[in-house]
Amino acid sequence: MADTVQTWGSTVPDKAAAKPNKMQKFLRQRSTIAFLMCLPLILIIICLVIYPAFYSIYLSMLNKSQTRFIGLGNFAFLISRDTFWQVVAQSTIFALSAVFFKALIGLITAHLVNNLPVKGQRKWRGMLLVPWVIPLALSTLGWWWMFDPTNSAFNYTLRSLGFEGIPWLSDPYWARFSVILVNVWYGAPFFLIMYLAALKSVPEQLYEAASIDGASAWQKFIHITLPMMRNIIAITVLFSLIVTFANFDIVQIMTAGGPRNMTHMFATYSFLLGIRSGDLPLGAATSLFMFPILGIAAVFILRGVRKRGREIG
């Protein structure tokens, strides 16, 4: 490193004289250093992301004991199973409904917080973000305890209000509802924070101008807030779709896929097949089914982020 310091000292002063070959050498040296600085990152991405991804494709084409190449056999097997289609359905239902409600609650709470006097906003924001800060596995444990059928907090409350207790996690449909509820609880604060930041970036003059024109609050929301936030809403929704679709913690802890495999998602199902049952190739094949869906979402996010980067400048 010491010699680069020296060369810097000598090259920079005659940069003004900018001879092309010297300039080239200067650039080449600079880019070599830059490449070396990126090397650890590149190694991590190649060894621990790209290699596993291709290895996963190879692995998914082997038989259970990984001794024989069976082509698309694992994929064909999965497609022929009813449970697999249940997983597809449940993952889709879970992701779409959870993201919808997270975005809705996030949008509502962001507006509510934004309505408050500026002094109190920090306190409310801090309080409402707590679900996002607790590690999901641990808060899910807390929810599981609240859903407990006999001494659960929810059923006690329901009974004392004169309703019947609900079999939260033992009835397949209630179990589906419960895992979605926990995900909404966990993820809505993230949307709140993103939308609140976006709301703050909308120029105040636009609202003032609209007020002078006699616009109602609803009209301001439709014609100013939504268009100004469109990009950030798209990014957060797509990002959340990926994370929610690939969610593992909630289902694994609360139901482990049950009752009757009705709550299995791609992640928990491939965990069951690959790790619990020891059929790594089949598990790899299951999780690979997520790839196209996540890939499409990723491309759109990238487009949105780039666009937003240009807007901000």
């Binding site: 880019s31 830059a34 600085m37 709470t109 924001r125 590690p135 444990l141």
Partner: protein
């Protein structure tokens, strides 16, 4: 349109003053009302965890009293059982080791790479930046099965050092991404001045970029910390003996023995395990939120 806008101030100038103030007050009141409802929804689970952790086993078994409140007195028994009779402290120690290593690795790798990508353009640098963002979008549940095989072949299965190896895939891309944004926001004049004074790349990084971008570095560190503290899929798949286990999985699996769930102790464990991220959040909330929102706005 222009006729409407012109007529509005003319027709109701008398009304707007008072009614606007009244409607503002109503809006504020409604905001508080609904925010309280949402706060109850968001804070009920942590509240209930605290209440459960402070109850005696006797009160919980009786099923007679309202479970949302404590009637038989507050006790720290659950925490005592947790700390003395279980492997909880081993999990805690393992998690600290893993998290400290992962945060250190993440910061070195991502600050170096972000400095190079944010300031020095080189062949393929924009492709690399895009690639980093795309790897950030790869969820851990997509690759944990091939990872299992890879970690096994290196001989790190059932060892927390395996976590130190694989967690950076979750933290490095995002940290690099937000650091690129922070570094790019530093005015070019600063490094030109440093170049004229004869500073090398490393001097520039340590004397200018790191101090100026310190808020970004803290935000990235908090992100790396929370991610590796909360990671669940990898330890669930790769660790199985309790001397190697980390907090998240250890609390959820190892503390549950047999059919009798010691809920008080479980909740005490969950609370203690969630405490470090919560404490950091309480003290460094602005950095935490900056890191959270930077992903979509910077870059």
């Amino acid at each position: 349109m222009s006729t409407i806008t012109a007529s509005v101030p003319a027709t109701k100038p008398m009304r707007t003053g008072a009614s606007l103030r009244r409607s503002r007050r109503w809006a504020l009141f409604a905001s508080y009302f609904f925010l309280i409802l949402f706060a109850i929804f968001f804070l009920a689970p942590p509240y209930y965890m605290v209440v459960t952790a402070l109850k005696t086993d006797g009160e919980m078994a009786k099923l007679a009293t309202n479970p949302w409140f404590i009637y038989d007195g507050v006790t720290l028994d659950q925490f005592r059982i947790l700390l003395y009779n279980t492997d909880f402290l081993i999990f805690f120690k393992n998690t600290i080791i893993v998290t400290v290593c992962v945060v250190a690795i993440t910061m070195v790798v991502s600050v170096l790479a972000a400095f190079a990508l944010g300031r020095m353009r080189f062949w393929g640098s924009s492709i690399l930046a895009t690639g980093i963002f795309l790897t950030y979008l790869v969820p851990d549940t997509l690759l944990f099965i091939p990872m299992f095989q890879i970690v096994k072949s290196i001989g790190l299965l059932n060892s927390y050092w395996g976590m130190v190896l694989v967690y950076p895939t979750l933290t490095v891309p995002f940290c690099t991404w937000i650091m690129i944004g922070y570094f790019q926001s530093i005015p070019k004049e600063l490094d030109e001045a440093a170049l004229i004074d004869g500073a090398g790349h490393m001097q520039m990084l340590f004397k200018i970029f790191i101090p100026v971008a310190l808020p970004g570095i803290i935000a990235a560190m908090i992100f790396a910390f929370t991610v590796s503290w909360a990671a669940f899929v990898y330890p669930m798949a790769f660790l199985y003996s309790s001397d190697q286990q980390v907090l998240t999985v250890g609390t959820v699996t190892s503390l549950i023995r047999g059919d009798v769930y010691k809920w008080g102790m479980l909740m005490a464990g969950a609370l203690l395990a969630a405490a470090p991220p919560l404490v950091i959040y309480a003290f460094l909330m602005d950095y935490y939120i900056a890191g959270l929102t930077a992903g979509a706005t910077k870059g």
